[in-house]
């Protein structure tokens, strides 16, 4: 079961003026499962996004990048809809996969009365199987007919794959007396790694944001959220985080990163992104613990992340947390092999929540096994490493590694 995470409450998800969402069952992988989402955007809406850095990126990633780049040019036709399918990733599908993606975009464009290049495609699911284009085409009219502004809850459910609960949240922030709304949804629970994950995220606001600034803002939000999580260290072929600004709010267009309005918006958008990213870890495949890895006092953020990921990726550390076993030497071992060559292990301190576990290269004299045991039994735990060699910090989030992770991933296709 997800760690301290429950299904979102539909009534708490606020519509974003300028966004309508329609859901349908296209029978892509299973019969009668809602597996298709269309998000229609008002004219003038702007979209920016970040994508997986996997070299084997999926066809929809290549096409979405291409269409997004075209739409970002001043004077171009803007993006008018996002099309998401689950059940098939359309990855590792070669040239046919590219054609299939364009075909589905064209089909939706026909229904919405726009061009194919105004549709951004997204797919998630099994890799290396041909995209069932005909099924998706058959499902589209129902999705379009279903479009409503208050469909965020159903949309969050429709994009799930191995997720147990849907991920969605809304925030409102008052800027210069105008209440701005931000609503986001995401999916993902395995193959989660920085530089994205099998995760899809969509965050929309009714604020008006200039195109180049929107790109900066989505990058900033992802760097503080989706790029700080890991479940299993695998980076997916299909990841994408999209930030949509419809401009329907009366707030004047936000153009500069320096002003107060932008900072308030960025802060709220990042908060939404962090909630969604943490929700993905809390719903990590087989997760029973949510672990915050905080590295402090490093020379730079890069080495803090390097050490943090060595801990967060270690199967030995993750299984010890699953067992609630304070076998904390495994954390020291992970710090030691993280690849920071000049690290002075005698200078660092390791804490489990507030409990000092190790210092001077070994177990702290004040450490008592029962204190470690007590913290290990919690469902939310912070591993804190103080390096004492600089002023940089990094925070990552991960989960433990359980029987169920193996079970889920050994039977994903069946």
């Amino acid at each position: 079961m997800p760690v301290n995470l429950t299904q979102p409450v539909a009534a708490q998800l606020l519509p974003v003026a300028g966004v309508s969402l329609g859901i349908a069952a296209a029978n892509i992988k299973r019969e009668n499962r809602k597996d298709l989402l269309v998000m229609q955007l008002c004219e003038g809406a702007r979209v920016a996004g970040v994508f997986t850095r996997n070299r084997f990126c999926a066809a929809p990633v290549i096409v979405a990048r291409e269409y997004l780049a075209q739409a970002a040019v001043a004077g171009s036709d803007g993006i008018r809809a996002l099309l998401v399918n689950t059940g098939n990733a359309n990855a590792g599908t070669g040239e046919q996969g590219m054609q299939d993606t364009r075909t589905t975009c064209a089909a939706l464009a026909g229904l919405l009365g726009c061009k194919a290049a105004q549709i951004l495609p997204f797919s998630t699911g099994v890799i290396m199987e041909p995209l069932p284009v005909a099924k998706i085409g058959s499902g589209l009219p129902a999705a379009v007919a279903n479009m409503r502004a208050d469909n965020w809850y159903d949309a969050a459910n429709a994009i799930m794959t191995t997720d147990i609960v849907a991920k969605a949240i809304s925030r409102q922030v008052s800027i210069d007396g105008v209440l701005v709304t931000i609503t986001g949804i995401a999916k993902g629970s395995g193959m989660i790694h920085p530089n994205m994950a099998t995760m899809l995220g969509y965050i929309a606001t009714d604020a008006a944001i200039a195109q180049p600034l929107l790109q900066t803002m989505v990058r900033e939000a992802s760097d503080r959220s989706f790029n700080c999580i890991t479940v299993d260290g695998d980076t997916s072929t299909n990841d994408a985080l999209m930030l949509i600004a419809t401009g329907k709010s009366p707030l004047p267009e936000v153009k500069s990163a320096d002003n107060k309005a932008c900072k308030a918006l960025q802060s709220a958008i990042t908060e939404v992104a962090i909630h969604l990213a943490q929700a993905i870890v809390r719903d990590g495949e087989g997760a029973t613990k949510f672990i915050t890895v905080r590295i402090e006092g490093g020379k730079d953020e890069a080495e803090c992340k390097q050490i943090g990921y060595a801990i967060a990726h270690s199967p030995l550390v993750k299984t010890a947390f699953f067992a609630s076993d304070p076998n904390l030497g495994r954390i020291l071992a992970a710090i030691g092999y993280a690849g920071v060559d000049d690290l002075d292990v005698a200078a660092l301190k390791l804490y489990l929540d507030e409990v000092l576990v190790a210092e001077h290269g070994g177990r702290a004299t004040s450490y008592r096994e029962e204190d470690g045991q007590r913290v290990m039994q919690q469902s939310d735990i912070t591993i804190r490493v103080v390096l004492d060699r600089g002023a940089a910090n990094a925070t990552l989030w991960t989960c433990d590694f359980s029987y169920d992770y193996v079970k889920i991933n050994a039977s994903y296709r069946s």
Copy 2:
């Protein structure tokens, strides 16, 4: 159960003139378990070794490196014994751990009539617990009393931790009409990664080999064997591979890497090391499959290894192999995120044994699911990736990821 690997046959393990082995139960972690090994070497024997690169390396690693460096200086007292204990790694134990290691070396030196610095210490087991020095001291007389030249089988069993079967092998090679013997033992089954692993390996030959050459030879052997395996990507604090040359054989001292004798010796020593390294993977914690990952046609060996390890470390790939599920897109995804930025994924070919799975960026037209399924059901499988961008190759060995891996590592201390 280990994958196509059985307990070695005691009678097939050949004594190496100049080496005696004694075993005893020191009750370090469990009562009446043989957990202590003393390997006594004849006067004039030479030793060289490679150790973990983990920054949090254990006290015995630091001390063994120091004693070995002293002994390698011409005219110094040579190494006269190796002392190995299981049940406790003496890692993450700070200054006290260093003292404890030196104390056990001194205790054995007293029994053997040599100096403490002529004893190389090795420990494996739980991290961050104080070494039970008194127990080890009490066990040493029995180990010394037990010393025999034909004790290799018992020695291989004594150094096991979570290993299911012992790892040991002998080879003989005729060089210039002289039959030279090489016998090696190793332990390890989890925390296995390049730059060593929780693995200890000891290979002895009766050949005489000059000290600087011996160091080159052990490095070469480990680069082709222990540095090509991974079980879970964790690098231990305690790893060590030692190569011992007693010089008891009538073969003249081997001094140069160029001559025929050295090449024949190196080849046999590397073969022994590869057998031991592969045995560790075959006995990988919870392993049900032995997987060879072969990357061909890379620009250099480094990128071949980088891609190979991305595949070999992927929990998604490893659980798919456990399930015998030809969900081979996961291999493509791992290749894609390996970090080779200019990789042309459309140019590579992926094979499972002889079955062509993927080419032109997607599934091969000739590929049939039943062919993939057939190979996946084998216990020995080769993943072969042909990059088609150069002449470099690399071969790694790994295993799958099963329920039992989690079970073993969630309960290691209990």
